[in-house]
């Protein structure tokens, strides 16, 4: 039997099955990345020009009050020791207290993160639903008017400042046409009407069967989500197009045609199946980019998410909040990467 069995021999000799080694290696690389990420953020937090002690005790505080606060924050210890304590706390799920409102940073993040998730998820969904078919059609009908449109869509998406597009959207659809709700997650009369279960108002209002809140929340989210969606549409459609072009010139496509398959079956059953893996990576990347793009979008739309949380914290030297927020976003980045690696293994038989 000429079946190629590559790892059969190695399996018998190695002390551990290969998947354990792979898993360990993955975990190790995550740990190193996260540690490095925390270290960089930590150093940035330490060299901030605004004095966090002053931010707590105020300009008029006496020397002894200042020193007490200084020691309480642990700033008298060497930086590496401080970092060690910080990592220790983070591992126990403690990001410290916000210097501004004295609440645990973890609670703040729990509150703001779902808002960003809601926005980015809706955005990336729009990007996938429109971008993937657009990219496929553009590749299959290369040079057609649809391909030209896809090209323009992508070019404009790559060239437009997101915060400006948000402003223009607000101006046109809210200010002039009045089609959508304005800034914020819900109108002022709907704030805290539905109990927070997931922290995502669209889902919470469905759970509560409060359709009025749902409608209002939807009218608020639709514009910022569309704007984020446009960016992921630009990226996803361009990448889909290029992946599909590569596959459509492959020899197995000729085989499928020789079999007598219809062109649509050739495209979707054969070619598309082969780009799934690459597409997953692109979507994960696009999602991560949206979390980032939401920083500016959230500010334009007064969206109480992690982006505006980090920005506000930065501008007021709230070190713990900045560190916590950045570490969480970084963690999501890393997790998305691992997630797409895992799916890679599921969908590509060659990766096993």
């Amino acid at each position: 039997m000429a079946m190629a069995n590559n790892n059969g021999g190695a399996r018998d000799r190695a002390p551990f099955p290969p998947w354990i080694l792979t898993t360990l290696r993955t975990i190790g690389s995550i740990a190193v990345t996260m540690l490095g990420l925390m270290f960089i953020t930590f150093i940035i937090g330490r060299v901030m020009p605004i004095d966090p002690v002053l931010a707590i005790v105020g300009e008029q505080a006496s020397k002894s009050t200042y020193d007490a606060a200084y020691q309480q924050l642990g700033l008298d210890r060497p930086v590496l020791v401080q970092f060690f304590y910080y990592v220790w706390d983070v591992l126990h799920g403690d990001f410290g207290d916000s210097l501004l409102n004295a609440r645990p940073v973890v609670e703040d993040i729990k509150r703001v993160f779902p808002a960003t998730m809601e926005l980015a998820t809706l955005g990336v969904t729009m990007g996938i639903v429109l971008g993937v078919p657009l990219g496929v059609i553009a590749a299959v009908k290369r040079g057609s008017w649809i391909d030209q449109i896809a090209r323009v869509v992508a070019l404009v998406g790559y060239s437009m400042p997101i915060f400006w597009l948000g402003l223009m959207g607000l101006l046109i659809f809210y200010g002039i046409l009045g089609w959508v709700g304005g800034p914020g997650r819900v109108g002022i009369f709907y704030v805290d009407v539905v109990p927070s279960v997931t922290g995502m108002i669209l889902i919470d209002s469905i759970l509560d069967r409060n359709w009025e809140v749902f409608k209002n929340a939807f009218s608020h989210i639709v514009l910022p989500a569309s704007i984020l969606g446009y960016y992921s549409l630009a990226y996803i459609s361009r990448m889909t197009r290029s992946f599909m072009l590569e596959q459509m010139s492959a020899e197995y496509i000729v085989t499928a045609r020789v079999k007598g398959m219809s062109e649509s079956a050739v495209i979707w059953r054969h070619a598309f199946k082969n780009i799934r893996v690459q597409l997953i990576t692109v979507i994960a990347l696009s999602y991560a980019n949206l979390l980032e793009g939401s920083v500016l979008t959230e500010i334009i739309f007064s969206w109480p998410g992690i982006g505006s949380y980090i920005t506000t914290a930065l501008l007021s030297a709230d070190m713990n909040a900045v560190l916590g927020g950045t570490v969480v976003v970084g963690l999501v980045f890393v997790l998305l990467n691992i997630f797409s690696d895992l799916l890679y293994k599921v969908f590509d038989p060659r990766a096993k």
Partner: protein, 304 residues
């Protein structure tokens, strides 16, 4: 006339007579194929125009970009001598836009120097030396890649203090890792090729191999990448300016101008709209130019 004909023929020859001849001929033929790409030429012209505007700003600007006339604030388009209106302090928007082009070019130019060179150094060293150096350098690169770019830039500017130079540093800091990866990948393929072994046998040292043989081969893909990155750099700089972390008032930075106009968006829409259009046009021009350059310099990646 016949002189130019001769030059053309000389440049289009299939059989170059010297190394320099071949180089010029290749450049000319690249230019010919670039020139036939209308979109790329449009991008190039926009950028030439931008440079011209930046250089000739004092001659072109109808008003002093810093002169405030509070009685004349938020004037609409084309109102007494202000073609693009005035902002909330009564400054002429067109003049500010013209002077702002200098800031944009300054930022883009500096980042386009710092980031690729850093990346090239890190990448080629990692790729050429290999072993532990490679592992450590690439780990660091990965850590920077794991960061959301804008958040990192934000944090950096906040730590170093707001201002245009720090914005440049922060953007460079977030922009170099992809170059490092690219340069490393190229170095790895080049290093294992036969002609490198050949010059090694002739006694060439690592410095000579890296600077004379590896860098020149990385350059073309680097240029393409830089051009395509410029749009991103402009957007990032504008984003920092918008957050108040880039150029400080009263400097006419385009992102900061949008931020200022944001407060009046519903009543005086042009204040925020016009600088946004300027940012859009310039980054579009860089994207068009980059696409065209890629087709000429990096044909294997073309049509993607």
């Amino acid at each position: 006339m016949s002189e130019t004909q001769n030059l053309r023929a000389w440049l289009l020859t299939d059989t170059p007579t010297s190394r320099r001849h071949a180089k010029y001929a290749a450049a000319y033929q690249g230019w010919l194929s670039f020139r036939s790409n209308t979109m790329a030429m449009i991008g190039l012209w926009i950028l030439i125009f931008l440079v011209f505007v930046a250089v000739a700003a004092p001659l072109l600007a109808p008003h002093d970009p810093f002169e405030q006339t509070l009685s004349n604030r938020l004037q609409g388009l084309n109102s007494d001598g202000h073609i693009l209106g005035t902002d909330s302090l009564g400054r002429d928007i067109l003049s500010r836009l013209i002077y702002g082009s200098r800031i944009t070019l300054f930022i883009v130019g500096l980042v386009a120097l710092i980031a690729p060179i850093t990346g090239l150094l890190v990448g080629t060293v990692a790729g050429y030396v290999g072993g532990w150096t490679d592992t450590v350098l690439m780990r660091i690169t990965d850590i920077f890649l794991a960061f959301p770019r804008l958040v990192l830039a934000l944090a950096f500017v906040a730590a170093l203090g707001a201002g245009i130079e720090n914005a440049v540093l922060a953007i460079s800091l977030t922009a170099w890792p992809p170059y490092a990866r690219m340069a490393r990948a190229e170095t790895l393929t080049i290093r294992s090729s036969d002609y490198i072994s050949a010059i090694q046998l002739q006694g060439a040292g690592p410095m000579r191999i890296i600077t004379k043989h590896i860098w020149p081969l990385c350059i073309s893909s680097l240029i393409v990448r830089v051009t395509l990155d410029m749009a991103g750099i402009i957007l990032a700089a504008a984003g920092l300016g918008f957050l108040g972390l880039g150029a400080q008032p009263p400097s006419p930075e385009w992102g900061a101008m949008i931020s200022e106009g944001r407060r009046f968006i519903l009543d005086s829409w042009w204040v925020a709209t016009v600088p946004g259009l300027a940012i859009f046009t310039v980054s579009l021009a860089f994207n068009l130019l980059g696409d065209g350059l890629r087709d000429v310099l990096d044909p294997k990646d073309a049509e993607k």
